[in-house]
Subunit: 476 residues, 2 copies
């Protein structure tokens, strides 16, 4: 009823506020909000009277979570949820004003000058009351498809806490929207880009030999043997560098599974829960099981989602040679983007087939060498010449592909790109199999036993564990 | 040397043959090949003399694998590999002529009139000799990045078997290309589209209530208890309809794991290897564990790759109500594409966040409701209102999204879209969790025990097993 009664005024307001919709900087958003605040036209003045206005709150601090909360959360949407349940954030920046924009949306202006549009159907769907969202499981129990698409408020106000109260016109349901929740979900501002699954974040350090050897992500087993703060340290190193080493673990069989289970359940594959990399030359064996050099590669790109984290544990290292070699694929991707943008486009556009037929198993998957999201951020790297299938692409893309593929491999093979590790019994190396490529220098199988065991863990299980540990150790 | 000596002639040939590059129908490709065959210009005549020509083979049958081989293989690239190792296919359509196109590629013309371009670097990379490809593991041992990008043949001919022999100019390496292998990889023709990971194939039947109830994908446990031909029958039904029922299995705990292991290893998740759906009302329990109605949904869309196959096994069914409900999400997607193409575009473009915080676990993933590949083929469907996060998208997309989301849910809830199953003790239902949505009508927990156990298997492990069983039972 309320919304309908102001619909004439709303129409002109929508025009006046339009610049805020395309605001790409907070300055532009602020100026739009300022236009509202100064009451530039009579219709806005009328709206101001019609909507309840609370005093401008004293602090203009951002509500974008404490740094601890932001670090715990892999994604903005989870940062949001954490913030909205924390009353202190609501206090930090309250809503100053809400203004109906027409029959479908309102504009919400904060005390610090930010303003953003929210649609009524979106607001109704995001009601956080216990009838709409299960208080324990946090699952939505509201049946979204049953909502009228053209739902509108019967009444609308900013309450004394700086949050937004709405009574809905279809059934009188009452919703209250936390100012911080709205602040975290300002989808109408282009500065809030749609979230993606990208894993590249400010807490990653891309590296070449110089950088990694100056920062050495290595720790002692004793630090994490009984303390999950040590596990958190390990996971943080692994997230930052894409590779992390633990020294001095028990050099026993299946220890790699125990290490993996400090993170999450093991990802079983067609190789089983665990695989052995042993120096016995067997006819027909996988190349990894002989003494030959293994060029930089990632594992199992032929799976629909290749394993996220790989853990390798050294049980015996008596053979001569056989150094483990790591290269940061994200660093290589950024190097290529900078030095040859066309080659980068080729490798981030063309789907490559990876496949294997191995005993009773046959797998095939198609994925670019560099997977980039819609913001052109690289989130996965897939390199494995041994399992790459015949390239099927536009004929004019064939030679450019081979040329770009050669470029990145040459760069990877420069000593200045590599981190080399002479793994000793008890060493455990974990790495992000979709970021850091691994390889091995050749060794002489007759010079002694070389025995590694390995396993995989999925990246989302790793991320979940890291969030859990960060939350636990942030609050104690 | 050879290639260089004809480079002048090659240049004009490349222009003349250009139409074949954009051939989108086999008729166009044939006419281009005919131009070659008739020797329309002197330069082509010279090339014909320079390349060895074999007699046109008597049969023009396609080499695109036998129907059995094609069915075994989920993907064209694996069909290829199977075909190229089968000599009879080489005999079916031999290469008639190879013509250098310039310094980078040749044109290959088959006896039936088809012609396609192959680049020298591509050919060198795809040498199948035992030095380049491991004869047992089939892995590529050739180091592709070491190849000169501008590699050319020193000599080039069609041999007596209708295959192509090349001696390379850089190191004298000799390669022989099977006619069927080349035929299967004609990437220069637009009719050979780049492969994708899509799972929609001619051996799927999309269904509504009428179709599924007339075809009933149901079989007896006795058919597969000891015979893996029965397992193959089960998997084929599951692939065709996205859902398949086995009746009369032992109504014992953990039987679901035994059933799953007939396919592949179980995919462990944060719920463990196995989950129980039991009618005990517990406070704070997952909604699935109470007696409430569960609307059509897919499971665990918040994982980076949601489980591919779900298996549910009924151990006890004494409660009143609680029918299992299935809907073909691919059928719903095609219905929407036809009736409201704009709504289809909205749901296949906008990334939706799915998330859960569950005890110590927190997961979030962003994916469209309908995942469509670059050919606009839908290969995954993700629907779960309970775990859908606040939508972050362009403000002009918000209302269209809710409207389209409502449309598909209303369609799913029509009785004419559903397959309802009253599961009895011993029933096992397996379904493609990325295609078929599942739900449950409400039941009264006090009316008796209802106990299901469930587990997941990844789709690529399923596909691998199906290929293995089809190969086994095609050859016996």
């Amino acid at each position: 009823m309320f919304a309908r009664s102001v619909s004439c005024a709303v129409r002109s307001t929508a025009r006046i506020l339009a610049p805020a919709r395309s605001a790409s900087t907070s300055a532009a958003a602020s100026s739009a909000a300022a236009a509202v605040a100064t009451g530039a036209t009579p219709s806005i003045a009328a709206l101001r009277a019609a909507t309840q206005q609370v005093a401008r709150l004293s602090t203009a601090a951002t509500a974008r979570g404490s740094s601890a909360t932001a670090a715990v959360s892999d994604h903005a949407q989870f940062a949001t949820e954490a913030s909205s349940s924390t009353p202190k954030h609501a206090a930090a920046t309250g809503v100053r004003q809400v203004i109906p924009m027409g029959s479908q949306s309102l504009k919400c202006a904060w005390a610090d000058g930010k303003a953003a549009e929210f649609h009524y159907i979106w607001l109704r769907d995001n009601c956080h009351c216990p009838a709409c969202r299960h208080p324990v499981t946090h699952q939505k129990v509201l049946d979204t498809p049953s909502l009228p698409i053209n739902i509108e408020p019967a009444s609308l106000r900013v309450n004394a806490d700086g949050n937004v109260d709405i009574v809905w016109n279809n059934d009188g349901h009452k919703s209250t929207y936390d100012a911080a929740f709205l602040r975290q979900n300002m989808y109408s501002l282009y500065e809030t880009r749609p979230p993606t699954n990208s894993t590249r974040k400010e807490n990653m350090t891309l590296w070449d030999q110089n950088i990694i050897e100056s920062q050495l992500p290595i720790m002692e087993y004793s630090e994490l043997a009984t303390d999950d703060k040590g596990v958190l340290k390990w996971l943080k190193m692994l997230e930052r560098y894409g590779v992390a080493v633990v020294r001095g673990s028990p050099a026993e069989k299946e220890q790699v599974l125990a290490m993996g289970r400090r993170i999450a359940h093991i990802k079983e594959t067609s190789y089983g829960l665990l695989f052995d990399v042993l120096n016995e030359p067997r006819p027909g064996a996988h190349l990894a099981y002989t003494g030959v050099e293994l060029k930089h590669h990632s594992d199992m790109n032929y799976m629909e989602k290749s394993p996220g984290i790989q853990i390798l544990h050294c049980i015996r290292a008596d053979a001569t040679g056989g150094e483990s070699v790591f290269v940061d694929g994200f660093w290589i991707a950024e190097w290529l983007r900078k030095t040859d943008p066309t080659a980068f486009q080729v490798l981030s556009s063309i789907d490559v087939g990876f496949g294997i037929k191995n005993g009773d198993h046959s797998y095939i998957n198609h994925v670019p060498i560099f997977c980039a999201d819609r913001n052109q951020e690289v989130y996965e790297v897939h390199v494995n010449n041994r399992t790459m299938q015949p390239l099927i692409s536009h004929p004019d893309a064939i030679v450019p592909f081979y040329s770009a593929f050669r470029q990145i491999n040459e760069k990877m093979r420069e000593r200045a790109s590599e981190w080399r590790l002479d793994m000793r019994a008890g060493d455990v190396v974990a790495f992000n199999n979709r970021r850091v490529l691994h390889g091995r220098t050749s060794f002489d199988p007759s010079s002694g036993v070389r025995h590694l065991q390995g396993c995989y863990i999925d990246r989302d299980d790793f991320a979940s564990r890291m969030r859990q540990l960060m939350a636990k150790h942030a609050s104690h």
